[in-house]
């Protein structure tokens, strides 16, 4: 059984190294339009929440569709800014400048919509 144990440990180590997301990690993509005030605000708001609530357990990609217009189509992005949470499931889209924190948290399934107050941690 030793090789198994060893390999699992190695795997855990490697995944931690490469920061490959596991099922517990968040995969987020934020689509913005250059450095417009609204986009800048969205990035700021998202970063703040992520650092506060997800502390390292997230993978955030910021896509400037001015630079990569072809990326908007496959992800069905229509409004700006759009945040897509592809993991954990279900996939969710959150639009707007993310200034409404409560809705953002609800959209990220960090808090249940019914829950009145934000809950720390990443349970769902």
């Amino acid at each position: 059984m030793q090789p198994d144990k060893l390999s699992s440990e190695t795997n855990a180590y490697e995944s931690a190294l490469s920061e490959q997301p596991t099922a517990e990690d968040y995969v987020l993509r934020l689509f913005v339009t250059g450095s417009t005030p609204r986009s800048a605000r969205a990035i700021q708001n998202l970063r703040a929440i992520c650092d506060e609530q997800l502390s390292g357990h997230y993978d955030l990609e910021i896509v400037d569709i001015y630079q990569h217009p072809e990326q908007a189509k496959p992800e069905q992005v229509v409004v700006m800014p759009t945040l897509i949470k592809s993991l954990p499931l279900p996939v969710r889209r959150i639009i707007g400048d993310l200034s409404n924190q409560q809705r953002l948290l609800a959209g990220l399934d960090i808090v249940h919509r019914s829950a009145g107050h934000p809950e720390p941690g990443r349970g769902r």
Binding site: T33, N45, A72, K73, V78, I94, G96
Partner: protein, 588 residues
């Protein structure tokens, strides 16, 4: 297309609004050239009225006919669905997409999957449109139905201002755009898009009247240009959209001097020996079974033999039926159908509304480009519509055919016995030539007669001819005209025989009369001879008497002389003779 350009140059000032031709049948005519170039056009209408198809046809035709690539931003159907839907109209969207002539972007917004957390804008939509436009170098854009945004996103005020920006942006990009929108209650569109798109608004409509479905198109607004203001019926069929323009305003058909044979030599003779004018409309009216279709078949047959394309619209008989029936009079129409010269369209009049029929016929004629069109019978339309409407439709059709220099032969079925003027629908004033087929019933049989009631610009015969349907086609015969009036068929034959026998009788009569006269003459001559004889004998008698009298007088003289001598009296004293005689007598 040439006709369209002619229309535009005629009705528009030289510095008129630039337009982008749609290539859609009829639409360019009613808009006098197409949609406003570089501006958005709003197409609104209820569900199923053909907004998407109109948009797609605009793009496909733009890409194929005008070398203007296009982009379709679809909010309702995926690219696959769209391409499958318009494939039924003969458009190969996939090939156009592969060839870089068309880009389709499907935009999907599902409200339940979206969490709104703050202010947003539609910049991504702009980017996507711009990207698609750039990828194919598009000149045309269709946004089908952008109103889906309203159901997918909340914050109507944001959407409104964003849409306003979008339309502005489309204009700045100089894109000719079609924006479709659902019709709303009491307004043109559900979300009032007409407020933002004010250059051109086209309303599509479909309604069912008397169980008949009719699609109609109306240009509500077209800023800066003239446009047709009526409701135009339109059709969506296997080749796409066709809008039927109303009758052109002026009568300026070009006129041809060329003649086309009627297909019946003796009928050509009745029409100055040459037949109908090319591009004219000919009406053949008559009761059931008078041979209208046969005459039409002759015309078609002759035209096909000359290599001209013909369309035969039949509203009462199927193709096979007509072909079989015409074979019985020696006309083989099948060979022309096989060679692609003759197109046969058997349409049941009640299947479509009147205007739909008209639009469909328009579309068929435009596609086949025939030189001759037969409509048999044009009165069949009366079944589904009022006389006035039918008449209008026939008028429009005749007008259209004339403008295309197509010779038209219309038959009308009449049911009125006594009046030859009865053309069924009083369309006679619209046609150039009118042949009347009459039926004459006498002595237990029906015969057909034909005459030319009118033929504009042609010295035509005023005679009624007998119209015979024989195993080798139509034949015209001179009818019998005599004391008994006009006779045909066996009555004509009978009358001819009767005349012959009457003539013989008369001849005999004359002969016997002559004989009689001769006899009488002889009798009279005999009488004359007898009388002469009598006269002669009487003369002889008289002479005999005269001679007798002379003789007696001489005798008397001699006696007296002798007596005197015997009494020795002086013979010279003749005056004494008497006294002497008396004396002598007294002595006795």
């Amino acid at each position: 297309m040439q006709a369209d350009t002619a229309l535009i140059t005629k009705s528009e000032a030289p510095n008129a609004l630039p337009k982008a031709a749609t290539g859609i049948q009829g639409l360019d005519e009613v808009t006098f050239g197409g949609l406003p170039r570089g501006r958005p056009t709003l197409i609104c209408g209820g569900p199923g009225c053909g907004k998407t198809l109109l948009g797609m046809e605009f793009l496909v035709r733009g890409a194929t006919q005008f070398d203007e690539p296009g982009v379709c931003i679809s909010f309702e159907e995926t690219a696959e669905e769209l391409s499958r839907n318009v494939a039924s109209l003969g458009f190969d969207v996939d090939a156009l997409v592969a060839g870089g002539k068309l880009a389709i972007d499907y935009i999907f917004i599902e409200r339940s999957l979206i969490e709104e957390a703050g202010e947003y804008d539609l910049e991504a939509l702009f980017v996507r449109i711009a990207h698609a436009v750039q990828s194919v170098g598009a000149k045309r854009v269709v946004l089908d139905s952008i109103e889906a945004l309203f159901s997918g996103l909340s914050g109507e005020s944001i959407l409104r201002s964003e849409l306003r920006r979008l339309f502005r942006w489309l204009k700045d990009q100089n894109l000719t755009a079609i924006i479709t929108a659902e019709r709303g209650e009491g307004s043109l569109t559900r979300h009032g898009l007409e407020e933002y798109i004010s250059d051109c608004v086209i309303l599509l409509d479909h309604r069912v009247t008397e169980s008949v479905f009719t699609r109609r198109l109306r240009i509500v607004k077209y800023r800066g240009t003239t446009h047709g203001t009526n409701e135009f019926p339109f059709l969506i069929d296997s080749t796409g959209f066709s809008v039927l323009p109303v009758t052109s305003l002026d009568l300026n058909h070009s006129v041809s001097e060329e003649r086309v044979s009627t297909g019946v030599a003796s009928l050509d003779d009745m029409l100055a020996g040459q037949g109908y004018y090319r591009g004219s409309s000919v009406l053949v009216s008559g009761k059931a079974g008078t041979g209208k279709s046969s005459l039409a078949a002759h015309f078609v047959n002759a035209a096909c033999a000359r290599g001209e394309r013909c369309i035969y619209f039949s509203f009462e008989e199927s193709e096979q039926q007509v072909v079989r029936n015409m074979r019985s009079i020696g006309i083989d129409l099948e060979q022309w159908i096989e060679r692609g010269l003759l197109q046969f369209r058997a349409i049941r009049p009640t299947t479509l509304g009147l205007e739909m029929h008209l639009v469909r016929m328009h579309a068929i004629i435009n596609r086949f480009d025939p030189r001759i069109v037969v409509i048999d019978p044009s009165t069949a339309m009366l079944n589904s519509s009022s006389e006035l409407e039918t008449r209008n439709m026939v008028l429009r059709l005749v007008d259209f055919l004339k403008s295309r220099q197509i010779t038209a032969l219309l038959t009308t079925l009449t049911d009125n016995d006594d009046s030859v003027d009865q053309s069924g629908m009083n369309i006679s004033s619209m046609v150039d030539a009118w042949l009347v087929l009459q039926e004459v019933e006498s002595s237990g049989e029906r015969n057909r007669g034909i005459f030319v009631l009118k033929a504009r610009g042609t010295a035509h015969s005023n005679q009624i001819r007998e119209f015979l349907l024989t195993g080798h086609g139509v034949e015209l015969r001179d009818v019998y005209l005599g004391r008994e009036g006009m006779l045909m068929g066996s009555a004509r034959l009978f009358q001819e025989a009767k005349d012959a026998s009457e003539a013989a009788l008369l001849r005999q009569d004359i002969e016997s009369k002559e004989l009689l006269r001769e006899r009488k003459r002889r009798a009279i001559e005999a009488q004359i001879a007898a009388l002469q004889l009598e006269l002669e004998s009487e003369e002889q008698e008289t002479q005999r008497l005269i001679a007798h009298q002379e003789l007696e007088r001489k005798q008397l003289e001699e006696d007296q002389l002798a007596m005197a001598r015997s009494r020795s009296v002086n013979v010279g004293a003749s005056e004494d003779n008497g006294s002497k005689g008396r004396m002598a007598g007294g002595r006795k």
